[in-house]
């Protein structure tokens, strides 16, 4: 193992790293994915708006614009291939006055130039037919029928699982802290451990500048951490809106949105505030108030009493304003992907292809393999019980009676689903890993009922005691010893 030299090492298993692993694993290559967190999608990919933006936001001619439009069209087929929830729900940017209309017209022109299909400005009558709960004061909207929604972390899991099934090696809790060029390869250290590879992709998100620093390179811009806070509403509010609703943008960002999620909840947020620490994913009372107020302006009768959880994500905003995807100035076989702020998720499949091109240019040979497996595992895409048809449910229960035990009542997650998640290619061995893969604990009671049971199942399946089960990381133990 020590002497193994990988063809490609990917630093960071966010959506960009995951997409790179996914695309690369179609070829005859040895791939290593090095992730600082305990799981795939430990960074920004875990907490964002989950919108597959159509592509009218980015400035014409920018790399962002190009990759957004291309990437957003690639998400749907990948989601289909890997059984990830995706929905083309369309988006509406609503305007209240003439000034807003001017802005919407500018977006329309820009979107058309960027190549976005089907964009149009609609009047208030059509807007209110499409969205009866949107404020009656809204007079116009920019309608983008190609915009969609996806489950961002599941897209990352799915692509990584597929890569893993096709032979990629994953190293978790592997925080790269030293890089040396030894002969023709790079030695990537994390404390005493070392992984060697001929080509390296830096997809460390907010920390991409620090990785560059490890090879004594300074990126030509700075990464500013800008936090966005969110509220998630109960599924019983699912009829609030059926499209992603934005307000006309300000300098601060695309503005706050109210949108359905692929799982049937309503998401509200994000604001945009610069924070000191890149790891500051806390929420604040003030922030939640700010997004509540915006949400009410857009959708006056939105029921904010039914918030089931709040969270925040941190954008890696580059001072240069565009994605930076380039080989290192020192080593042509070391590719940086940095400053991937929104719409990084929507662009991610295209970002990965762009990186593959750069790798090829640097000399990497891409030879297709004949034994490529198209699904997440050798046995398909691990469909969850709640997504199955009646026939599939019957068969699933016949095959494994654990599928007839409902563990999470809110989201109808079975013990079979949880056991599968624990034994999938990238094992879900913490309560949060199980939660994000199965939705156990993501519903209205937020694990009030099932968290203890999930911990019990993990303990049983992995042959450890319940108090060794973690919530998400090494020190996030759930219990504090035995009772008296």
């Amino acid at each position: 193992m020590k002497d193994k030299i990988y063809d490609v090492a990917i630093i960071g298993a966010g959506i960009v790293g995951s997409m790179c692993a996914f695309h690369l694993s179609k070829y005859k290559l040895n791939i290593a994915v090095l992730e600082a967190g305990i799981d795939v999608a430990s960074g920004t990919t875990r907490a964002n708006s989950a919108i597959i933006h159509a592509g009218y936001d980015a400035n014409e001619g920018s790399l962002k614009a190009k990759l957004n439009v291309k990437g957003s069209l690639m998400v749907e087929p990948i989601a289909k291939q890997l059984g990830v929830h995706y929905k083309r729900c369309g988006s509406l940017v609503i305007g209240f006055n003439e000034q807003d209309l001017d802005h919407l017209n500018r977006l329309l022109v820009r979107g058309k130039k960027n190549g976005v299909l089907g964009l149009e400005i609609i009047d208030e009558k059509r807007l209110h037919q499409m969205e009866p709960n949107v404020s009656k004061e809204a007079k116009y909207a920019l309608y983008a029928p190609t915009a969609g929604i996806v489950c961002p972390y599941d897209l990352a899991y799915a692509t990584c699982e597929n890569a893993c099934t096709n032979g990629a090696d994953f190293f978790f809790e592997y925080k790269v802290d030293k890089i040396e060029k030894v002969g023709l390869s790079f030695s990537l250290y994390a404390k005493e451990k070392c992984v060697r590879a001929k080509y390296v992709i830096n997809c460390a998100g907010l920390y991409a500048d620090e990785i560059a620093g490890l090879i004594s390179e300074k990126l030509p811009f700075e990464i500013i951490p800008r936090r966005g806070e969110y509220m998630l509403l109960d599924k019983c509010e699912k009829d609030t809106v059926s499209h992603t609703i934005f307000v006309t943008p300000s300098e601060k960002g695309k503005g706050i949105l109210v949108s359905p999620t692929v799982d049937g909840n309503i998401i509200v947020g994000p604001n945009a505030n610069i924070v000191e620490s890149k790891a500051d994913t806390g929420v604040t009372a003030e922030g939640l108030q700010e997004i509540s107020q915006s949400a009410v302006t857009m959708v006056p009768n939105i029921n904010l009493e039914s918030v089931i959880t709040t969270f925040a994500g941190v954008r890696s905003t580059p001072t240069s304003g565009d994605f930076y995807i380039k080989p290192s100035t020192k080593h042509p076989k070391f590719i940086h992907s940095a400053g991937i702020e929104s719409p990084g998720l929507a662009s991610s499949p295209a970002i990965a292809l762009y990186i593959l091109k750069l790798l090829e240019k640097a000399g990497l040979k891409l030879k297709e393999r004949s034994d490529y497996i198209t699904t997440r595992t050798k046995n398909g895409n691990c469909k969850l019980f709640c997504d199955m048809t009646e026939e599939e449910r019957k068969r699933a229960i016949e095959k494994n009676p654990a599928n007839a035990k409902i563990v999470c009542r809110c989201e109808m997650v079975t013990e079979g689903d949880i056991i599968n998640a624990i034994h999938r290619p990238i094992s879900a061995h913490t309560v949060d890993m199980v939660k994000r893969r199965t939705r156990a604990g993501m519903g209205r009671c937020q694990g009030g009922y099932c968290r203890a049971r999930v911990a019990e199942i993990i303990a049983r399946e992995l042959n450890i005691s319940v108090d060794e089960v973690k919530k998400f990381s090494s020190n996030s133990h759930i219990l504090c010893g035995r009772t008296k």
Binding site: T309, C445, R451, S476
Partner: protein, 329 residues
């Protein structure tokens, strides 16, 4: 499988309903109780403390008593069996490791599915999201069923019965409860309970106090508390930080009606319970609701009264249904 009366849920509401339907003339072989847990009893099975119904029994004692009555009367029941859906024709889909995936056709359905805890979403606490923050129901399961302590220095948010019971349990099991706080200025529970659960263990009760922020990246390390003024606004100068390793919240309960709303039963948004007639019949004919799934009751006595009422009215419904020619004729 065909059954005249299917009762979903075997908490006190469901069991009392079954007994009363029987007493009101429904034959024992025409009744089926379906319960997803391995035992009859519902929430009562988690309650090892006293205070349940007449005679001040423990929850588990009351559950055993009711379950014995069901068994002695010969009323049929399925445990370890979950109803995943039903429709307007009262065709019910059940799943269980033993029987697999099955349909049951009923003439009448009683929803006695109880309730679940509210999440802490509504509390809007700022800060990080470490482990060590759990609901009172989860704490109860860890302590009473698993025998594990969820924390050694705990802050409790909320003053529901359940919150107080957990405060006491934690103290008895070797944990320390630093305080119990609630945003409200008046309590919903009896003075006696405060005495028994808090004062006896010297646990301070802090009303009009909220947790505003959590600290700790992995495991909870501390919380920020603040007092509220008369208008419910945070008094900034009272913000203070308390070191602790766990926070147990109890934000009340929500009736459980997922399968009912999937079937098209009209649900009242304010209470999350179904809209019912005087006979406790929901918007779907022949589908009734009782207990905590109808609305959150004050105590188990009122839940049982509700079960009794629905048992009688569903028996009347079945009689009328039969005299009108019943199904499919």
């Amino acid at each position: 499988m065909d059954k005249k009366l299917v009762i979903i849920g075997s908490g006190p509401a469901g069991m009392v309903c079954a007994i009363n339907a029987l007493k009101s003339g429904v034959a024992k072989e025409d009744i089926l109780i379906i319960e997803r847990e391995e035992e009859l009893g519902g929430t009562l099975n988690l309650c090892i403390h006293t205070g349940f119904g007449k005679g001040n029994r423990t929850g588990t004692e009351l559950a055993t008593d009711l379950a014995n009555q069901i068994k002695n009367y010969g009323i049929e029941y399925l445990v370890g069996t979950t109803v995943i859906s039903f429709n307007k024709d009262k065709e019910i889909t059940i799943v269980s490791p033993d029987i697999g995936y099955e349909k049951v056709k009923a003439e009448a359905i009683v929803l006695a599915t109880g309730c679940r805890e509210r999440s802490r979403g509504g509390l809007s606490i700022g800060g990080t999201r470490p482990s060590g923050v759990i609901s009172a129901g989860t704490a109860q399961r860890f302590i009473n069923i698993e025998g594990y302590l969820p924390g050694k220095k705990t802050i409790i948010v909320g003053t529901t019965n359940l919150a107080l019971v957990i405060a006491r349990r934690l103290s008895l099991e070797g944990g320390k409860v630093l305080c119990v706080c609630d945003a409200r200025s008046k309590l919903q529970v009896d003075k006696k309970e405060i005495e028994e659960c808090l004062e006896f263990f010297n646990i301070p009760l802090k009303l009009r106090t909220v947790v505003t922020k959590l600290f700790g990246k992995e495991r909870l390390e501390a919380v920020e508390l603040a007092d509220l003024d008369k208008q419910g606004k945070i008094i900034r100068s009272t913000k203070r930080i308390l070191k602790c390793d766990s926070l147990v919240y109890s934000c009340g309960f929500i009736p459980e009606n997922e399968i009912a709303s999937l079937a098209g039963v009209e649900i009242r948004k304010a209470t999350h319970g179904p809209v019912v007639s005087k006979k406790l019949e929901t918007s779907i004919e022949g589908v009734f609701s009782c207990g905590n799934s109808r609305f959150i009751h004050k105590d188990v006595i009122s839940v049982m009264t509700d079960g009794k009422r629905v048992g009688k009215s569903v028996a009347e419904y079945l009689k009328k249904h039969k005299s009108q020619g019943g199904d499919g004729e």
